[in-house]
Amino acid sequence: MIETVIRKRIEVLTDTALVNRVTSAIDEAGITGWTVTPVQSGKGREGRWREERVMGTDKVLVLTIASQEKAMALAEDLAPILSTHGLLLTMWDVEVIRGDRF
């Protein structure tokens, strides 16, 4: 049987304009990597956004796998801009294989 370990998976929904800020926070937290996936549309307190990507208001989802401790450091670091910049952060426990990488 292979062995799995528990790590945190963090997903941050962010404006494309802010993606560098999020990924550099990940780098600073000492996390090994991150992956950016596209987003199509959404609705929040500011109403719907849909086709505004021509206008530079499109969003992406940044996902990263990290140890509990680094994940909390990242969340701590991003917390102040979460509400001001309309970011959405969720995190949960996942099993990974070869957990020493993260």
């Binding site: 404006d15 304009a17 802010l18 500011e46 109403g47 719907r48 849909r50 086709e51 505004e52 990507r53 021509v54 206008m55 530079g56 208001t57 499109d58 102040p80 801009i81 001001t84 910049h85 309309g86």
Partner: protein
């Protein structure tokens, strides 16, 4: 003026924009894929840059060009001041939102400019090729003024100024417009001939599809928004009128030909909805995109395309004596 207005509404370019507006109001699911819309805007900027550069390589740079550049940069720096006063006073916006919106109205809309050039060429008063460089130069100064106006009210972690300046001067549209302009100047008419079938022949057709998309987006946004008051709606009509007037006076004042005068007018009248919103997201995240995008994109942009391009042209005719422009 009758002729201009009439020409506007039989131009396929404008009709596709209206089709987009109507389709969105009728809640049709018509939509242009995002990648395509971005591709079309890159194409339009490369093409307009190239054509401007080739035109300047023919006519050369002279004192008029320098004056036009100076006038455009000054307008971009100063027009936000008027807008800010109106937005805070009549518009009842707070300092941060007033500063953010003001930055949009000092900057320019590439597609409004491009559509105006098409229509002015049809009228027989094509603007000079150097107006493309004026447009590129006008994109960013307004951002700095807008930020200065909003700054004292900013509470969050400041965007590093160097980072912001970099974003502002190397943003995609400035780089592509000026880069293509330089390429046009270097290759000149003979080098351009090779790529003309792509960048020239296809231009109006691409503009049709792009404006179809803009119509869809502008109408959908105004249907979805909750942030807009009637006061802000009125300002979004008044500012392009006033700014267009100022720009046209400025153009005539420094001795531009009819077409270039009208083009400077429409640059002042137009409001950014790509470069400035992106900068505001970074530098003024407290400002509400629901306000600045809806005003610039859903009210000012259609008003300019459908009405103001014609008005500004008529005014430029009167000021410069029509026929001065080289047909």
């Amino acid at each position: 003026m009758d002729v201009t207005a009439f020409q506007t509404f039989t131009s396929p370019v404008v009709l596709f924009f209206i089709l987009g507006l109507l389709a969105a109001f009728a809640r049709s699911d018509l939509a242009i894929p995002e990648a395509l819309a971005k591709g079309m805007s890159l194409y339009l900027m490369a093409a307009i840059g190239l054509k401007g550069g080739v035109a300047v390589s023919k006519s050369g740079l002279d004192v008029t060009v320098i004056l036009a550049l100076a006038a455009g940069i000054a307008a971009s720096f100063l027009l936000p001041l008027i807008a800010y006063a109106v937005l805070k006073g009549f518009g009842r916006l707070d300092q941060v939102n007033a500063g953010a919106v003001a930055a949009h109205y000092g900057s320019v809309s590439v597609v409004t400019f491009v559509t105006a050039v098409e229509i002015y060429e049809l009228r027989g008063t094509p603007p000079g090729g150097f107006m493309v460089a004026v447009m590129a130069a006008m994109e960013t100064p307004a951002i700095l003024t807008g930020l200065l106006l909003a700054r004292s009210a900013m509470k969050t972690r400041q965007q590093k100024t160097s980072e912001l300046l970099h974003e502002v001067f190397f943003n995609a549209s400035v780089v592509l417009l000026l880069g293509a302009f330089l390429i046009g100047m270097i290759t000149g008419p003979s080098g351009f001939d090779d790529v003309a079938p792509f960048f020239e022949a296809g231009f109006k057709g691409v503009l049709c599809l792009f404006l179809l998309d803009m119509g869809l987006i502008a109408a959908r946004r105004i249907m979805d928004t909750q942030a807009l008051t009637w006061r802000l709606g009125a300002i979004a009509i008044a500012l392009p009128l006033v700014n267009g007037l100022i720009g046209t006076l400025l153009g005539a004042g420094i001795g531009l030909d009819t077409g270039s005068t009208a083009a400077l007018g429409i640059l002042c009248a137009s409001a950014s909805y790509i470069a400035v919103p992106a900068a505001m997201r970074l530098a003024l995240p407290e400002a509400d995109p629901g306000i600045y995008l809806t005003m610039s994109l859903s009210i000012t942009f259609p008003f300019n395309i459908l009405v103001n391009i014609g008005l500004v042209a008529t005014f430029a005719d009167a000021l410069t004596g029509r026929g001065v422009g080289l047909p």
